[in-house]
């Protein structure tokens, strides 16, 4: 059975179901036990599962990640929640020096099933310290999987998959997605890592859109369709591992590639995706691939500037048209 629910409700449902499925699942984060429940995603957990499995944690972010690693080493399946990804950066030592290399260092003998939910703010003047998406940093790191769910269906399925897999993952959730609705199975289910979704079929251009830009890309594709331009929209869902096979297959057909990435322009996921295609078929492509990204700048607070800074469907339409000239 499917039910139409929001992205936030899907995350909430996945967490409830995971904690019911296995007693080893626990969740930690600041204010996860308060009534607003991290934008609705953790509401009701404390009443059902108690304060040991649902731990409100001090603003000691580095310790929280390390403690999660320790608990996972002792057999727990741990979900860490950061209502702002920016605070997570205090735990870079735990993530980079310990979490990512735990399995490697032990030659596969010890695993850390830990999921970090990191939320990226957007809009309402969140400014530079509440709005950056750092997925490409973490995707660069061996030993950690990175997911960017764009729909409620993926948000639930990828969270459950992450909780019950053996290696650590970072799920980056954009606030602008939390109210979007989708048809979501009421039972627990999985969305696998490394398997892209073709969100719309098309033949003229391949548009890979990441995370929060998937819906903008689909809206842009609808506009272009009405003007006779057929765009294939691919949502990679996860960056590590990346389903470059599906992307390459699409570009073999369209011969054109654009990547919409809600992150800074340089050294990002867009560059990586374009490379993974160019290395295979640069000579056959009909146009130079294009990155549709944020500028190499921090996010301004002022509303008109904020509007200018972020990407939208109009900008995507323009970039795709340029690709066809």
């Amino acid at each position: 059975m499917y039910k139409k629910i929001t992205y936030a409700a899907a995350i909430n449902q996945a967490t409830h179901q995971a904690m019911k499925l296995s007693k080893s699942v626990m969740i930690m984060g600041q204010h996860i036990d308060f009534s607003p429940g991290v934008f609705g995603t953790t509401v009701g957990l404390i009443d059902k599962f108690g304060k040991k499995r649902v731990r409100d944690f001090p603003a000691a972010e580095s310790l929280m990640t390390a403690a999660g690693i320790g608990a996972a080493v002792d057999g727990k399946r741990v979900i860490l929640v950061h209502s702002r990804i920016d605070f997570m950066l205090y735990s870079l030592d735990s993530i980079v020096n310990w979490l990512s290399m735990w399995r490697f260092k032990s030659n596969k003998e010890s695993n850390v099933p830990l999921v970090i939910r990191a939320i990226v703010g957007k809009g309402w003047g969140q400014g530079p310290q509440h709005s950056k998406s750092l997925h490409s940093w973490f995707a660069h790191l061996p030993g950690i999987k990175v997911a960017m769910p764009s729909t409620a269906f993926d948000a639930k399925g990828l969270l459950l998959e992450s909780i019950f897999s053996e290696s650590p993952s970072i799920i980056i959730e954009n606030r602008s997605l939390f109210n979007l609705t989708d048809n979501v199975p009421t039972s627990p289910y999985r969305v696998r890592y490394g398997k892209a979704a073709i969100r719309k079929k098309g033949k003229d251009v391949t548009l890979v859109a990441i995370g929060s830009l998937v819906i903008d890309a689909l809206k842009a594709a609808a506009i272009l369709e009405s003007e006779g331009i057929s765009v294939e929209v691919i949502d990679p869902r996860t960056l590590t591992p990346l389903d470059s096979e599906t992307i390459n297959k699409s570009v073999l057909k369209t011969k054109r590639l654009a990547v919409a990435d809600p992150a800074w322009h340089s050294f990002g996921a867009a560059s990586e995706i374009i490379t993974s295609v160019s290395e295979k078929q640069a000579k056959q492509m009909k146009a130079n691939p294009v990155r549709i990204t944020l500028p190499d700048s921090h996010t301004p607070m002022s509303a008109p500037l904020e509007k200018k800074y972020y990407l939208n469907k109009e900008r995507i339409v323009l970039e795709i048209k340029n690709l066809l000239i």
């Binding site: 310790l63 002792d74 020096n97 260092k105 003998e109 309402w124 053996e166 999985r190 809206k219």
Partner: protein, 373 residues
């Protein structure tokens, strides 16, 4: 007030308070044998390190710091967890991990504790719940997570031990860890082997205030500082702390003042850095934990010179076997870099989760930006 710190210990001259009152003969000999075993291991590795250059990884030797690992070896159960810093060999052996696999790890061989992937600083032996790492306080904070998990279990009296040096307490995460351990009364013992130096920098150039163990009390963690080369005293204090933690009475921090006779890293002397005086080094050599215990064991006639000779002979035999094992073993071969870093199988997800078809996503819906936050 009788404050223990490195300056005061040096003023006291030879340590005369070692006493066998708290332990029986068997335990005394066990502690002695462990320390001698560790010392001879380290010295044998040092001797073989250069110019052979077959152990191609940085090694932080722990000559002079044998007391804490010896006491832990005596007190811990297999289920207890032990987390170590980069000066790890003593802790590794304390958890009864095999000597030959330590040697093979240093040689980078497939038979090493971690198939040669980790080396001296990062060695672990998951089977016996032993882990280590080089980024100082990091391991301490992971040990806390283990303690948190242990405390959630019914009928579990296991503990987590975090061994670290004074350098780790320069890092902020260490104090976050103490705060949470005290707040939740977790079954964790913090053991600070205070050897006065973070590489070459003395405590007095890095920290002010009351000292590490005093500061722990402010975080709600009971603590004590002691002369750390008296293995009987270390054993007694850890025994109390571990027994209390097993009973759910919460964490403890033991600060043991000790000394690294070895250079910070490797076998080449770091005397040229001139960070410590000859007088200081010679004081600690005279007060080495093995020597102090040996003197009283001989005096009380728990052992005689011949016993020591026999113990040494047995240890040297195992060291030789370990070298042979390490040298004869093969180098590792990696079949998949990817699976080495991220598990390619998902047995738990396969068991619990089904695949579902995704329905069409409604592209026309409006994106709502929340107001206010």
């Amino acid at each position: 007030m009788n404050i223990i710190n490195h300056e005061n210990i040096l003023k006291k001259g030879k340590y005369k308070n070692i006493s066998l009152k708290s332990i029986n003969k068997k335990t005394a000999i066990k502690l002695y044998t462990f320390m001698l075993n560790l010392r001879l291991c380290e010295e044998a590795i040092e001797k073989e390190y250069h110019p052979a250059d077959e152990m191609r990884c940085p090694v932080h030797f722990c000559v002079g710091e044998e007391a804490v690992p010896a006491a832990l070896n005596n007190l811990l159960e297999n289920e207890d967890y032990l987390f170590s810093h980069h000066r790890s060999h003593g802790y590794y052996l304390a958890k009864n991990a095999p000597m030959k696999k330590l040697f093979a790890e240093l040689y980078g061989k497939v038979t090493g504790a971690n198939s040669g992937l980790a080396g001296s600083m990062d060695i672990s032996y998951a089977k016996n719940n032993f882990f280590s790492g080089a980024i100082l306080a990091g391991a301490t904070s992971i040990a806390l997570g283990v303690a948190m998990s242990l405390e959630m279990k019914d009928n579990c009296n296991s503990v987590a031990i975090a061994g670290f040096g004074d350098g780790a307490t320069d890092e902020g995460i260490f104090w976050e860890t103490l705060n949470y351990a005290g707040l939740k009364k977790l079954p964790i013992i913090f053991i600070c082997e205070n050897n006065n130096y973070s590489t070459f920098s003395a405590m007095s150039t890095r920290q002010s205030g009351a000292g590490i163990s005093e500061r722990a009390k402010a975080f709600g963690v009971n603590s004590k500082s002691i002369f750390g080369n008296d293995v009987c005293l270390v054993n007694q204090e850890l025994k109390n702390a571990i027994s209390n933690a097993r009973k759910g009475k919460g964490p403890f921090l033991l600060e043991t003042f000790t000394y690294r006779i070895s250079s910070h890293v490797g076998t080449i002397s770091d005397e040229n850095v001139a960070y410590r005086s000859k007088k200081e080094v010679s004081f600690w050599k005279k007060n080495c934990p093995i020597k102090l215990l040996e003197e009283i064991l001989l005096k009380k006639k728990y052992i005689n010179k011949n016993d020591i000779k026999n113990i040494t002979k047995d240890i040297n035999k195992e060291i030789k076997i370990s070298f042979d094992y390490a040298k004869k073993s093969n180098f590792p071969n990696i079949s998949s870099w990817q699976d080495l870093n991220i598990s390619s199988s998902t047995p738990t997800a396969d068991k619990l989760l089904k695949d579902y078809e995704e329905k069409d996503f409604d592209t026309n819906q409006k994106i709502i930006v929340e107001k206010g936050f």
